[in-house]
């Protein structure tokens, strides 16, 4: 299960000090030779090399030649892209929505984003280098999501998704709507003559993210998206495997989790079924009140229930980037993409593994002290 743990312990102290020197000297290109590289799209390379210049990946693979005299890091462990979380309210507790308003169609979560919030540093320590920040579940239309780098360096997409909620927190006793039928009527009204973000969504330029919990909510969300030809993903969708056929036909993807030790096996098995059915999925981060490993814990629980490891890795990296809509920049290790990567002392699907060094755009942002 964990072939790298003993090797990882051999992670050379000289390597880490070399990194530090490199930073000081302002060197803008380097090579990393790693015993194993997960490319983020489900593929892996044994004993490969990653070549980074000016924060951008130049090449990666087994056959990448390392010219002599160039600075090279030797890593006897696993190298992966940075982890991408596809839904979270990191750094935004209490600021990511307004339950008193059912419709925040033109609301922008980007306006509440505070890059230096400690939640992001915390997520980064656990290997999450990019996250989608999603408006709260408590409005029927929550507004626009935003995609950010957790090192605070960049907002990747200021209006990434239009977030709507089919869940009960969006139904409040002190404002309309209070019920499912009213919520659906509100959404239908937007699509009767779409303007603004809804026109963008209808034209296929702005994907939806739809909060939906129990199966009947999931079925309602799928029917809504299908009827109007809307693309995007569901958030939550426990037991979505019971509506697998309509889900597949809709072309929607699913953002699952976060899962905890108390999450029912039935819910975790849903993720296994999604993977087997080839439905794209990715993971949500823990919300900011829970200071724990934001994504990997959810993934590990699913792997324990039988989630294919390759599918799990895709959901952490490249698959997540597609759902987040930032696959042109992050998620896989390939030429032209940001050099966001993690050096692990073991397989990231194994919870006993840790990130030893994390890079964002080729810059060492966090490093474990031993």
């Amino acid at each position: 299960m964990k072939p790298w743990n003993t090797l990882a312990l051999a992670l050379a102290a000289t390597f880490l000090s070399e990194v530090a020197e490199g930073q000081k000297a302002g060197v803008d290109e380097f090579y990393v030779r790693s015993a194993r590289i997960y490319l983020g799209d489900g593929r892996e390379v044994e004993d490969g090399v990653l070549y980074v210049r000016d924060g951008v990946i130049q090449s990666v693979g087994r056959g990448v030649a390392v010219p002599s005299g160039k600075r090279t890091l030797q890593h006897d462990g696993v190298l992966t892209p940075g982890i991408i979380s596809c839904a979270s309210n990191l750094g935004l507790a209490g600021e990511s929505g307004d339950s008193a308003r059912a419709d925040l169609s033109e609301g922008r979560l980007a306006d509440a984003y505070q890059p230096s919030h400690t939640d992001y540093a915390h997520a980064l320590e656990f290997g999450v280098t990019t996250t989608v920040l999603t408006p709260s579940i408590s409005s029927v239309v929550g507004g626009s999501a935003v995609v950010v780098k957790t090192d605070g360096s960049e907002v990747l997409d200021r209006d990434s998704h239009l977030v709507v909620s089919f869940s009960t927190p969006a139904l409040q006793a002190d404002r309309a709507p209070t019920g499912y039928a009213g919520a659906l009527a509100l959404l239908e009204e937007h699509l009767a003559s779409p303007t603004g973000v809804w026109a963008e969504a209808e034209a296929g330029r702005l994907p939806l993210m739809m909060h939906a919990g129990p199966r009947h909510e999931v079925a309602r969300a799928i029917a809504f998206a299908t009827q109007h030809g809307l693309q995007g993903s569901l958030i939550g969708a426990a037991w979505a495997d019971d509506v697998l056929e309509s889900l597949r036909a809709s072309g929607l993807s699913v953002v699952v989790g976060p899962f905890r030790t108390g999450t029912s096996p039935r819910t975790l098995d849903t993720v296994v079924s999604l993977a087997e059915a080839g439905i794209p999925f990715a993971f949500a981060a823990e919300d900011s009140r829970v200071p724990t490993d934001p994504v990997r814990f959810s993934v590990a629980l699913c792997v324990r229930r039988g989630l294919d490891e390759s599918a799990a890795r895709k959901a952490l990296f490249g698959g997540a980037a597609l759902i987040a809509g930032v696959a042109d920049r992050v998620g896989t290790l390939e030429r032209g993409k940001d050099a966001d990567f993690i050096l692990w002392d073991g397989d990231p699907l194994d919870l006993t593994s840790s990130p030893r060094a994390i890079y964002v755009k080729g810059r060492l942002v966090t490093q474990e002290k031993h």
Binding site: P177, G179, Y180, A181, G182, H216
Partner: protein, 403 residues
């Protein structure tokens, strides 16, 4: 060790995959109560093909594969099933919701569908919860089948649901704020019977006035369909004063098809109900006789309605207690003097006619949906059990002994 675990999981997953279900059967019974004329006694059979009743007759058909039981009745029809009646299944931002659709708020995945189906209820009218004065459009569904509206639909937007009595008022909460606007919608609902009844009439007055003046009115089409008789209106009314209100309401607005649901005290007003032309859905018999809204319910209520010639159905009214389910209600009604044939009618053809689905369900006749209940003895007897249920030909309760 890990690989062993994965193998077991793989088996679990594949077992959960949906399988093509058998919908073609032959059923053999001592007696088939068709609810369409006299029962077929001394040996009868029913042939079911692709979920539809192909033939019914006396004698014996089918080989070893036939389903066998003592008696068969049509699947039971309950016009007052309260599944998914969470507060989110009703839109409370206004106590008048003519156009809110239960189809948009129903939970087809609820475990309670299975309980209804296995207890013999094969068709159900599900209406918005009665927190509102006018809750919107109820939907008639089969109780089993794929959990999609398409697969389960019997009649979309089948009825307009309303409620008299103290139920909408009970959901009114006093505004505890000394100053300022109401805290939420519930502080603004009608707080009494009189106000509830007025809100309902007011909605109709406004709708009719809007039609006369040619102005827009939210839900105008629904109102029109109720006033023309195209769509029945079903109102909750347990106590005498509310049953009277419902009858007067029907007369005032000349509503052709009015169903009074939960009418525990209907026995007090047989003449008024008969002359009004309303139909009645009776709630489950409760021990102690005080039903909801403090209504006084009698065992003889069904017999009284029967004797007066008032169309009525029995219901479980969403009872969670198994002894209040629909399959037990005919026994109570018969104990109160209702003839067997009338009791059978009250759980099959009578409710089917009230919502206009009698062409598909309600009796055992060729061409109708194969919704059947298989009994261990004479139906409705306290010592008889429901041993098998078919919904659209799908076996949801298997009468065959397990090996």
């Amino acid at each position: 060790m890990i690989s062993v675990g994965w193998t077991l999981l793989a088996l679990t997953t594949s077992a959960a995959l949906p399988q093509e279900e058998e919908t073609t059967w032959v059923i053999r019974a001592q007696t088939v109560y068709t609810a369409a004329g006299d029962p077929i006694e001394d040996g009868a059979f029913i042939e079911v093909e692709d979920g539809i009743i192909e033939g019914v007759g006396s004698g014996s058909r089918g080989g070893d594969g036939a389903l066998e039981c003592f008696a068969v009745t049509p699947g039971l029809i309950d016009l007052s099933v309260r599944i998914a009646s969470s507060r989110w299944s009703v839109e409370e931002s206004d106590e008048v919701q003519l156009a809110a659709r239960m189809a948009d708020a129903v939970d087809l995945f609820s475990y309670r569908w299975g309980r209804e189906a296995r207890s013999g209820v094969t068709s159900a009218l599900v209406s918005p919860p009665d927190n509102n004065v006018l809750g919107g459009l109820g939907i008639a569904l089969k109780t089993a089948g794929e959990p999609t509206l398409e697969a389960r639909l019997l009649r979309d937007d089948a009825v307009l649901r309303g409620s008299f009595g103290d139920y909408p008022a009970r959901h009114s909460t006093p505004n505890r704020l000394a100053v300022g606007p109401p805290r939420d919608f519930r502080t603004r609902r009608p707080a009494t019977r009189m106000a509830t009844e007025w809100v309902m009439r007011d909605a109709f007055y406004k709708g009719i006035a809007a039609k006369r003046s040619g102005t827009a009115y939210d839900g105008a089409e629904v109102l029109e369909s109720v006033l023309s008789g195209e769509r029945p209106m079903i109102v909750q009314a347990w106590a005498t004063q509310d049953i009277r209100t419902a009858a007067f309401f029907k007369a005032e607005f000349s509503i052709p098809r009015m169903i009074i649901d939960g009418a525990a005290e209907a026995w007090r007003e047989p003449e008024l109900l008969r002359s009004s032309g309303a139909s009645v859905v009776l709630p489950p018999m409760v021990f102690g006789q005080r039903a909801r809204d403090n209504a006084f319910y009698t065992l003889s209520c069904a017999k009284t309605l029967h004797d007066a010639g008032i169309p009525f159905a029995l219901s479980g009214h969403g009872a969670e207690r198994s002894d209040e389910r629909l399959a037990y209600q005919p026994a109570h009604a018969m104990r109160g003097g209702l003839p067997f044939e009338a009791a059978l009618e009250a759980v099959t053809m009578a409710p089917a006619r009230m919502i206009g689905v009698e062409d598909r369900v309600g009796s055992i006749e060729a061409g109708k949906d194969a919704d059947l209940v298989l009994w261990s003895g004479r139906p409705f007897e306290p010592s008889s059990r429901v041993v098998g249920v078919l919904v659209s030909g799908r076996l949801v309760l298997d009468p065959r002994p397990t090996e």
